[in-house]
């Protein structure tokens, strides 16, 4: 039974391809916790902008830091932020959407209006504003990105709760005397997990992309902590002299985002059949 299910997932090409891409980067990150080829923050002006060699597999940046090590550490930030944003945004979004869908009426119209307003506001602008007001830190970045991902979760769970609130099995649970909270969490929510996993992977990749974007604008992760976006912005000055330096973070961001998007597409296809 379980093997069959695994087979079903792996036989989907999109899902498998995406999983491979994400796994490579994930492995790179995990290895980075135990072994780094060099100190990612060690500045060595003698080794400035070296091309890939045996010593520095991916070359060095303009301060002579080992790019491979920086990439390994930088992927932590991407995964960490993606994870936090999905958890925070998902929790908040599902709660709001769930309440709106399940109770309907006034609660629904208030929450829906709130979410519509949020969506009408450009996400990056919101993040800029939050960071400008509360200062530049990882927590604030996560907060901003979480707020940005709320509508997606809220809409999805609202439609799910709306669909199931009048279903027979919810009625059956009501006849048992189950409380609203119990019905929402234990009865309806498990039925939404499939759709939710699609939304979650999409949000994950969205968060990674936004983080890279904000870091590129020097608004996210502060130096010297490495992050893909930051590396990209540093590399653009040397784009003509040291092409590889720009290619590496760009390729990794693409791979990560594309990987998650492929997983999400794959999941969608699997659940639909």
């Amino acid at each position: 039974m379980k093997q069959n299910r695994l087979k079903k997932y792996l036989s989907n090409r999109n899902f498998t391809l995406g999983l491979i891409m994400v796994s490579i980067l994930f492995l790179l990150m995990v290895v980075g916790f135990f072994y780094l080829p060099a100190d990612p923050n060690k500045i060595d002006v003698m080794k400035e902008l070296l091309p890939p060699s045996r010593e520095n597999l991916l070359g060095t940046d303009q301060l002579g830091r080992d790019i491979l090590s920086r990439v390994m550490v930088g992927s932590r930030i991407s995964f960490f932020i993606g994870f936090c944003v999905v958890i925070c945004g998902g929790l908040l979004g599902c709660t709001l959407g769930g309440a709106a869908g399940y109770y309907g009426g006034k609660i629904d119209s208030v929450i829906t209006k709130l979410i519509d307003t949020q969506m009408a506001f450009p996400g990056v602008l919101l993040a800029l504003m939050l960071i400008a007001v509360f200062g530049n830190s990882v927590q604030n970045l996560i907060l901003a990105l979480s707020v940005m991902s709320v509508p997606r979760f809220a809409r999805m769970s609202r439609s799910g709760f709306l669909k199931y609130r009048n279903s027979e099995f919810v009625k059956a649970a009501k006849v048992k005397g189950a409380s609203d909270l119990r019905i929402m969490i234990l009865h309806i929510f498990p039925n939404l997990l499939q759709e939710l996993s699609v939304t979650a992977t999409l949000s994950f990749s969205g968060a990674i992309m936004s983080e890279a974007g904000l870091s590129y604008l020097s608004l996210g992760i502060q130096p010297p902590t490495p992050s893909f976006g930051k590396m990209l912005s540093e590399a653009q000055n040397t784009i003509l002299t040291a092409g590889w330096y720009v290619v590496i973070p760009a390729a990794l961001i693409t791979m990560l985002v594309l990987g998650f998007n492929l997983i999400s597409d794959g999941l969608n296809e699997i659940y639909r059949h």
């Binding site: 279903s167 027979e168 099995f169 009625k171 059956a172 649970a173 009501k174 006849v175 048992k176 005397g177 189950a178 409380s179 119990r182 234990l186 009865h187 498990p190 039925n191 997990l193």
Partner: protein
């Protein structure tokens, strides 16, 4: 059989929408259901029989009227409301959609105990669940299965087990066997019978299938557009229906083997409940309709043989039927 277990007083459920159109889904129903009996409720779809059943289990709020269970108003206060599941339970029509597809059978059964029997330990709960499964003819191994792994009949057995696990006195069976095949339907009907004897249950048996209702019930109420039009002993009613609607209903049910002779002409369809006919709601389809019927609404009256009927010409029809019998 003389103790009233459940009584409704002028129970109504009225839906109003923005455009001020009013639908009286259930219109002023007062009836008594006695301890240990099976009360059948029949009618066409949209006549309000399910709405009536759902009000008894607190799925729908009555617009007007009261429900008395053992003489006490079940909506009296918050505490009384919370106790409804332990007194009144429901078996749903569709065994495919009434069980949560993501939950195991054991979990679904145990849930009622977790909610209402907080003092039980995990082992005690498991024991009750096993006993319950055994009672409905399933073995323990079903606890770890998902609803999708069960056949329709097995699922309906699970639904019955869920309904009975809190030892309620009153069970609303809302089309409980309509979705099942005849061979399985008979198994479930027998099971319901056995359980009724064992736990001295009282059933409200809602169905559109007259054969099933008249087989199961001691008394039958016939509903038309939200009101009871005839109510009486099951045998009397099915052998000798008096109300023109009851007659039409019984003559349109197709029994195996009975002849077509003496069929009542069946005409028309159920009028829209949002715009019910004036006077007697049945007058648009009634072959005996007169002017009185379209202007005045008949009240329920009792006939000499004990049945209640809402028809202006009840006495006349009754006399005629008595003469025919002779």
């Amino acid at each position: 059989m003389n103790n009233v277990l459940l009584q409704t007083n002028h129970l109504s459920k009225i839906y109003t929408d923005d455009r001020k159109s009013v639908v009286k889904a259930v219109n002023d129903i007062s009836l008594q259901i006695y301890q240990g009996e099976t009360f059948g409720l029949v009618g066409e779809s949209g006549c309000g029989k399910s709405t009536f059943g759902q009000m008894l289990v607190n799925l729908l709020e009555p617009t007007k009227g009261k429900i008395l269970f053992e003489g006490e108003d079940i909506f009296k206060n918050k505490r009384a409301r919370k106790e409804i599941p332990q007194k009144i339970q429901m078996i749903f029509q569709d065994p495919y959609s009434s069980l949560n597809p993501k939950r195991k059978i054991g979990w679904l059964l145990e849930e009622s105990l977790i909610i209402h029997r907080k003092n039980l330990s995990k082992e005690q709960r498991a024991k009750i669940v096993d006993e319950m499964l055994d009672l409905v003819g399933l073995d323990e191994s079903y606890k770890d299965r998902y609803p999708s792994q069960l056949s329709g009949g097995q699922r309906q057995r699970v639904s019955i087990a869920i309904a009975l696990i809190l030892n309620p006195k009153f069970v609303v069976c809302d089309e409980a066997v309509s979705a099942l095949d005849v061979s399985v339907q008979a198994q479930i009907l027998n099971l319901l019978h056995d359980l009724q004897e064992k736990f001295s249950l009282t059933y409200l048996f809602i169905s559109h299938n007259l054969n099933v209702v008249s087989y199961m019930s001691d008394r039958i109420g016939v509903m038309y557009l939200g009101s009871i039009v005839e109510l009486g002993d099951a045998v009397t009613l099915s052998k000798n229906p008096i109300h023109p609607y009851t007659k039409m209903l019984f003559s349109s049910s197709m029994n195996v083997g009975d002849a077509d002779s003496g069929k009542v002409q069946i005409t028309g369809e159920l009028p829209s409940p949002s715009n019910p006919p004036s006077g007697c709601t049945f007058h648009t389809r009634c072959p005996y309709c007169t002017e009185l019927c379209s202007s005045a609404r008949p009240e329920l009256q009792e006939l000499p043989d004990g049945r209640q009927i809402a028809c202006h010409y009840a006495q006349k029809f009754y006399q005629e039927s008595m003469e025919k019998k002779r």
